[in-house]
Structures are given as C-alpha cells and as structure tokens.
C-alpha cells in the first residue's frame, strides 16, 4: 500500500514537471507570460486533475463533473498545460498561447473545453464557485467545486463577500485553494498589502482551514483526500508555494510575475526542468 502511494506521488510529480515544462513552452510560443504564478500552482494542479477531481475529458460538459475555477486566471498557461495533459485539448493548442483567434489567451476562456469560467479579473472566482456549489446543493448533485485563489488576489474585497456567504450557507462542497507564493506583480505581498494573519482570517470567516507545503505532493494529496475538512463548512487549503518554482532564476521574484521568454531563457529554463530529474525518460 505504501509503495502504491509512493508510486502515485512520483507519478503526480512527473505530471507537475510536464506542466511546468509546458508552461515555459507556451510562454516561449507567445514570447512572454505569467511564469511565476503558473509554476507555483503546477503541483496543486497536477494533484487536482490527476488525483482528486472527477472529470471526463472526452465529455467535458458531463453534468456530474467536479468543477474547478482558476480564479487567479493569469496562471492560464498552467491550466492549459494541465488540460492538455488530461486530454481536454490537443497538445498543439499549447503552441497557440496568445495566438490570433486562439481560445488559449492570457486568461481562461469558457469556450475552451474543460474551462468552467472565463476569469482574469481578480476576485471573481470564489463567488462563481460558490454559485456552482449552491447549484449542486439545490439540484441534489454530488459534484464538488474547487476554486484556486492567488494571494495578491485576496486584496480584492469581493473575495471576503464570498468567504462570508459560503460559510453562512455552510457549503461543505466548496473548497478554496490559496496558491500562497508571496509575490505579486510589483513586489512581495507582505510588503504591498499583507494578508496576514491569513489562516486566522479564513477561520474567523467560518471556514475549515489547513496549511500545507504546496510543493510537497504527498501533503497536497493528503489534504485533498481529507476534504471536506469539516462536515458543515467550506474548506480552505492554504498552500505555501514558491513563485516561479523549479527554475532558479525565476523563483521568488516579482520580475518573473510576467516576463519575456527568449530562446535563450527558454533553453535555460528547460535545462533546470530536465525530464530525467525524477528518473523518468521520454
């Protein structure tokens, strides 16, 4: 059993590595993009799509599917890479990032298979996810809704309206995951407008809260397996992550929130994200 779990974790780590490589690939195709927040969310997305969420990639509108909303829509390169790996979209779509008439722009577009809501304006996803969770309850459906939030995004007040309402309604079928990479466009979140004490805030708003290392795949899987964290409350997983995770020159700096990706930068990045890093071959 333990060996199976270890194999599962290693498989998910491979998924995350592929997502990160394809994030760089998409940004290279576009010439630039939101590297930092895409890479920080890759492990979480891998665990969600290849372990937790109940989905049918060949039937993207299956009514019983779990819903995932990427509220921090600027990480769309990571979502696209994930959807391609899951089989919702063709792999070649990743080369059409920002392209003319592409459904794969900087931010998620509901017209792309597997995308549940067009996002990009910050502070929208939690309320929309709340509506989805409510829709499940009102129709006696058992699908679960998961919303990924950015840390800078929580500076938008609308999130706190949603936080208050989800707890008031006791929506245990709603989970928020905070990709807490500590960096926003112009600097460190703590210096710009701090969220702290963020766990206490969500607890005070009536959510069940767990904090994890958002790059520890076993911890991510265990947290997702523990959902809902309380039987009558929405769940908040605060995932401590590193902006730009996986490529040394892009880590923990606002400079890589959104940056140019030249041929040289791309090659250097892929060298650090070598596929044999975990013993896999391709």
């Amino acid at each position: 059993m333990k060996r199976n779990f270890q194999a599962k974790i290693e498989g998910l780590q491979q998924d995350a590595l592929h997502i990160r490589r394809n994030v760089w690939r998409a940004l290279h195709a576009a010439g630039s993009g939101h590297m930092g927040g895409s890479s920080s969310s890759a492990d979480l997305l891998a665990a969600l799509y290849f372990h937790h969420l109940r989905l049918r990639p060949n039937e993207p509108d299956w009514p019983g599917r779990d819903r995932f909303v990427l509220s921090k829509g600027h990480a769309n390169a990571a979502l696209g890479a994930t959807l391609a790996r899951a089989g919702f979209i063709e792999d070649v779509v990743l080369d059409q990032f920002y392209a003319y008439r592409s459904t794969f722009g900087m931010h998620p577009d509901i017209k792309m298979p597997g995308v549940e809501m067009s996002t990009g304006g910050l502070g929208h996803g939690l309320s929309v996810g709340l509506g989805m969770a409510l829709g499940a309850r009102l129709q006696n459906l058992d699908f679960r809704t998961c919303v990924m939030l950015g840390d800078g995004e929580l500076q938008e007040g609308s999130n706190w309206e949603g936080a208050m309402a989800a707890a008031h309604l006791g929506l245990a079928n709603l989970t928020a995951i905070l990709d807490y990479n500590k960096v926003q466009q112009s600097g460190h979140v703590g210096e710009m407008l701090t969220l702290e004490p963020v766990a206490e805030k969500w607890t005070a708003f009536g959510w069940a809260v767990r904090e994890i290392d958002g790059h520890d795949m076993a911890a991510i899987v265990e947290a997702l397996d523990a959902l809902p964290l309380a039987p009558d409350k929405p769940s908040m997983i605060i995932a401590h992550t590193i902006k730009g995770k996986g490529v040394s020159f892009a880590e923990d700096t606002y400079l890589w929130h959104n940056n140019m990706v030249t041929d040289e930068v791309y090659e250097n990045a892929l060298r650090e994200l070598a596929l044999d890093g975990l013993g896999a071959t391709e």
Binding site: G121, H124, S127, L130, M132, G135
Partner: protein, 327 residues
C-alpha cells in the same frame, strides 16, 4: 428568442397584487417562473420586500438566496448557478447592481454568456430624493454596451410581468429596469397581446412625427399624440421597451414614414435609447431628431415628479420637441 406569446394568466390576481408597480410585478413573475420551472432561483441583495418576495420566500425558502448587501458576490453567485443549469434571477437596486458589481456583470455574466436575469428596481430617478448616489441614469448606456445582453425597460407593471415571463426564452443574460414604490400608470395591454421582446409596440399611429419612448415616458408620449391629434398633427408613438436588441425595422419605418423623430427616456442623453436610435439612423437614414433625457450632470435632489419636470421628462417637453421639429 421565438414568437411564443406569454402564456395565459395562471394567477388571475397578479395584476391586482402588482398594484401598478413594476417592481412588484417582477417579483410576482419570479414566483410564477419558479412555479413553472424548478431550476428558477431568486437572489436577493437585501431586496426581499422591495420586490415583494416575502411570500415567495415563505413558500419556497430554498429558491431564494439572500446574498446580503454584497452585489459583487451576488452577481458571481448568479453566474455560477447558471453554469450548473439553474435559472438565477437577481433582484437588485438599479444604481448598485449596475455600478457596484459592474465587473462581475461584464466578466462572469455577459462575457461568459450565462442565462442570468437581472431585475433592477428603482431605475432612473425613482429615488430622486436620495441624491446622486441612488440615481441610475447611466444604466442603459452601460447595459447596452454589454455583448450578449438583452436590455428591457417595460412601460408599466403589466409589461413587466410579460417581459419577465418571456425571459424564459432568452439564451443569454438580460437586464430589466424597474420602477420604485409608487404607481406607474398602466398603458399596455393586460394580456400582453402582441408583446415580444425586441419588437416595439405601436401605441399610436401617425404620419408627421414619431416619438420613440421607453418606461415612464411612454404615457406622456401617448398623451402628446392624443393632444396634437386635435391640432391635425399625426404623432406616431413607439414604446421601445427593448433597448437592445433595438427594433431597427420599426425605427427605419418611422424615419421613412414620418418627418422627424423624438426620443424620450429617463436616462442621460448619451448612450441610452436616444443614443441607440441616433447611432442607427445616422448611418442608415439620417433623420431630424430631438432627444429628451437628462443632461451631463449629477441630477438634483427632490420629489421624483418634480425632478422629472425639472429635466423636461414630461408631456410638455415632448410636445415642444414635436412642434419644433415640424416648424
């Protein structure tokens, strides 16, 4: 959208209960829609009594979500509900549901093209005494610039009932502007005969000048036509209850068959009904026009009737405009 008429009056007492108030007619229509379709769910932004939904809440407590005074969240919830196949009807104050939650309205509802019906009570200067914070005189300009959105300004409570019921047939989002806590004179047919979203009502025929009006300006437009008929002036009156999509055919016919056009609306001159008509005719058939509406200023405080008069939202102003165009 198809040609289906509003079904028969399933609640014969709806008109009495609406008390000639469009906000109450809308609330009654919410209950009727919920009776017909188990997917209908109302969302209140602390507006239960404004829409007369207290009885509905008691009858169907799980079909009314109270979002509190939090319009941004309410709008997002509506969008999320719609993605799951529910039919959310958001009941808000016109000045807040358009401005406070504008980004949610644009991104989550219009851009994502979700079937959300927005009922906006206290449109225009219904709350004139409350001051500029509570005046919704740019809402039509905003809504008209939302792709996918249908924009309706019913002329009275009767038309509100039929318009709300016909939203069942819309594939995308819609915005219905409503009045406040006072009576609106009934001017349309109680059975909604001939009413169709997107098609103007011909209220009076006439061959000299056309008044294209919406909402509370339809009644004075009709009075204008009746008054000028005695002077031998034929004033055609169109009740343009649907601002978007505009009934271009009716506008074009008016431009072709009468000499001039007056538009009348309780809204700023820019971007509303007059703007829609002028933008269209300037390209298709330039026509002499006068636009009755409000100027580029924050409107004054006062009793609604008095403030309407102050801004020339009146029969007198419509008559003067008709005469000026024909002189």
């Amino acid at each position: 959208m198809n040609d289906v008429q509003s079904p028969g009056l399933v609640r014969p007492d709806w008109e009495r209960l609406a008390q000639n108030q469009s906000r109450l007619a809308f609330g009654l229509a919410v209950a009727e829609l919920a009776r017909r379709d188990g997917k209908v769910v109302a969302i209140s932004a602390d507006t239960i009594d404004l829409f007369g939904l207290r009885g509905f809440l008691e009858a169907k407590p799980d079909r009314l979500i109270e979002a509190g005074i939090a319009e941004q969240n309410a709008m997002g919830i509506a969008s999320g509900l719609a993605t799951t196949g529910m039919r959310p009807i958001l009941c808000g104050y016109a000045p807040f549901i358009t401005a406070r939650s504008l980004e949610q309205l644009r991104n989550d509802v219009a851009y994502a093209n979700q079937r959300v019906v927005i009922g906006a009570a206290c449109g225009g200067i219904v709350l004139a005494m409350a001051g500029g914070t509570h005046h919704a005189v740019e809402d039509l300009a905003i809504m008209r610039n939302m792709p996918n959105m249908t924009v309706i300004v019913p002329a009275d409570a009767r038309q509100t009932w039929h318009a709300a019921l016909q939203t069942e047939q819309l594939a995308g989002p819609s915005y219905i502007r409503l009045g406040g806590k006072f009576e609106e004179p009934p001017v349309t047919d109680i059975a909604g005969k001939g009413f169709r979203i997107g098609r103007a009502d011909l209220m009076r025929p006439g061959g000299d000048v056309t008044v294209i009006a919406c909402g509370c300006l339809v009644a004075p437009a009709i009075a204008t036509s009746d008054a000028l008929a005695g002077a031998g002036i034929g004033v055609r009156v169109l009740n343009m209850h649907t601002i978007k999509p505009l009934d271009r055919e009716a506008v074009l016919a008016a431009a072709a068959e009468t000499d001039a056009i007056v538009t009348a609306e309780e809204h700023r001159i820019s971007g509303g009904l007059g703007g829609a008509v002028a933008e269209f005719l300037a390209q298709e058939r330039p026509t002499a026009m006068r636009m009755i509406g409000m100027p580029d200023e924050f409107s004054i405080v006062g009793p609604t009737a008095r403030v309407r008069e102050h801004y020339g939202l009146s029969q007198q102003a419509i008559m003067d405009a008709c005469r000026a165009l024909l002189a």
